[in-house]
Symmetry: C2
Subunit: 402 residues, 2 copies
């Protein structure tokens, strides 16, 4: 079997953890598997390098930032190779230039275009464990370009796709995907198998365990993803196209507290205004989520929507700038809100799922502000303080712990 294994920065933060990862890889290697390891930079290295850059130039060119940041992964892969050699296992580290991982030009947020496999297959044929720098690629200018946060997951999935790996294991500090965050919902249950689409909806709904770009890519290329713990040998959660039939209506509950609700008040009640507002925001790369439009009255209406709190400042700025063109009288906002979502392919064929969710919330006295749905997801916007209570209520309501 060819297995791609990805370990994050905290898994390689010090000597002890580096050897722990080495042992995990060598275990599978000794069973006769071909092993490709993808690593992030050690611990807080990336943040420390960013801090160093800021001390020199707070507006450093992104091209040079990427040149700086890519050293982080190069350090961890070379140390990992040394650790494996110390354990008498042939290993070799490779960076993006050596593998030839090609990406789009955009510094700090590049996308993979093509990954050459010659070098990696050559090293695997010599029965070496191949250790590849995550998070980085080379663009058409022959410069380093990084993939943005969560980029090492994407590197692992992209490599697994290019190499036609049998599976891609993403090692984290939890032992799989849960029906809800176990720190909040005490009886949350680990999910054995989950479909790509469900995983994607969970990831975009606030479940931090996998980056949605990597899930999207896994789905596109049919890469079998496994989410598992770097600390235990538990089996973890398998993400794939078709899963075992289970009786579950829904697969999991997720919450996203990093949400702000914005209202544009007194907008002219005529066609095209809402379109203009959201088009303006889309052009600036701001992702608008749940949208609610009040019924028109006195020739005006109110348009409310949610954005990530990270985008709040910029969104307010844009609305202020374009206030007149967009016929907005007043803009208000609220950051004390959160989104709670249920996800499950089962709800496609089962009406009444939404009703059951609302009932659970009603029984716990939780008020719903806004609602949004996809084919396999229902999201409600509630007061942030009610988040934990809502998750427990829904989790219990659907009997997800069984």
């Amino acid at each position: 079997m060819l297995i791609v294994k990805k370990f994050g920065g905290s898994s390689v933060a010090n000597r002890e953890r580096i050897f722990n990862v080495a042992r995990r890889c060598i275990e599978d290697y000794k069973k006769g598997n071909d092993i490709v390891v993808v690593l992030s930079a050690m611990g807080d290295t990336t943040d420390e390098l960013l801090e160093l850059a800021r001390s020199i130039n707070p507006n450093a060119p992104k091209r040079e930032l990427d040149m700086l940041l890519t050293t982080g992964e190069q350090v961890s892969v070379s140390l990992m190779a040394m650790a494996m050699h110390e354990m008498d296992i042939p290993a070799i580290s490779l960076n993006a230039f050596q593998v030839r991982m090609h990406s789009t030009a955009r510094y700090g947020n590049a996308r993979f275009k093509r990954i050459d496999t010659d070098r990696i297959f050559h090293e695997l044929e010599e029965r070496k464990i191949v250790i590849v720098t995550g998070f980085q690629a080379v663009n058409k200018y022959d410069d380093y370009a990084t993939l943005g946060r969560g980029g090492s997951d994407t590197t692992a999935v992209a490599l697994a796709a290019a190499l036609h790996a049998d599976k891609c294991e993403i090692y984290t500090d939890v032992d799989g995907v849960y029906t809800a965050d176990p720190r909040i919902v005490k009886n949350a249950r680990k999910i054995d198998e989950i479909m790509y689409d469900e995983m994607l909806e969970l990831a975009t709904s606030g479940a931090k365990v996998l980056h949605n770009r990597s899930v999207e890519m896994a789905k596109k290329y049919g890469v079998e993803l496994v989410v598992r713990s770097s600390l235990t040998s538990e089996e973890g959660t398998v993400v794939k196209e078709v899963v075992k039939m289970e009786k579950m209506l829904i697969t999991g509950v997720a919450a996203d507290r990093n949400t702000a609700r914005i209202s544009a008040m007194g907008v002219a009640d005529k066609p095209g205004i809402a379109f203009k507002i959201f088009n303006t925001l889309a052009k600036r790369n701001i992702n608008v989520d749940i949208i609610l439009q009040s019924v028109g009255r006195d020739g005006t209406k109110d348009i409310s929507f949610t954005v990530s709190e990270d985008d709040l400042k910029e969104t307010l700025q844009i609305l202020e700038e374009k206030k007149e063109a967009l016929t907005i009288k007043e803009v208000t906002y609220n950051t004390n809100v959160s989104k709670v979502s249920i996800v499950g392919a089962g709800m496609l064929s089962n009406p009444g799922v939404a009703a059951k969710m609302f009932e659970s919330l009603f029984n716990s006295n939780i008020n719903i502000n806004m609602i949004s749905t996809s084919e396999i997801r229902i999201t409600v916007l509630i007061d942030e303080k009610d988040t934990d209570k809502a998750m427990v209520a829904i989790h219990d309501g659907f009997g997800l712990n069984d």
Copy 2:
């Protein structure tokens, strides 16, 4: 003019010094020159990375050590580019993969084979300051290989040769090459111009200011070298093929305390034994310096020679192993010795230089143990404790301060 400028690790050890270097480069850039900057890793980075590697694997493969070490220069070049951008000057950093600096395969001690100039010229044509990682190259396996200590000087000279630069400036913490170490000989004088061969002899005789590999390469390709201070704007010392006629018999005095004298006693007095001894050492890459052979007596003789103190342990080991084959009765050694050399192309046509040197030493009551000469150098081995006194005596004897 196209100028290659090289700055060592201490010149870029912190924010303030990075900006100081940036200013030095920008000054020449604004006069209309094309500027290529070669940098070492910041401060003690290389030693810290080696320490980190040792903590993982004391016998780490050299290939992986080079993969690790090369991150050091990549950090300094990217930070330098950021500093120049902060000062509104277009700059770009490049590593060995981007420039395509090709070397021999040997990790940790590679030699340049070919340097592509396309990328650098392309960036210079866009009026950018080009900042290149020193100390590193890419070998035929498409892997990083470092050039060994002093490698950044070699990178600068090699780039200057490949780009046909008008000059190559090596910035150090002294403002040029002196007639003697100014910390020892108070009235030592800065040399304005010096010939390659003289510089080479001084470098191999203990003057630390330039690495002899870089001087050799400068001579081979006719690169005009300038040694100058990164702290002052003094003119520095020019190293080139032909220099202005000066009245000086000798150019400078240098001392090397890192010397050990070894004696192989009671060796059979027959042909070929001395050859066998030195051939054995040469095969193990041990550089033997001054050699003295006693007159044969009772069918045996004593052979004495000097090696670098770094090689002492290994040399003694080899002699011990081959004691019988080499007919050695006993091996003795002394590390309390040092070599003092005078260098100068002027001595070629002036007999009596050696006599004058010996006279100066005699007047200061300094005993000479061994003597060795080249066309433009005379070296004496003396007691280590007499080193400073000898340098002052010779420096004064030849009137080098005038």
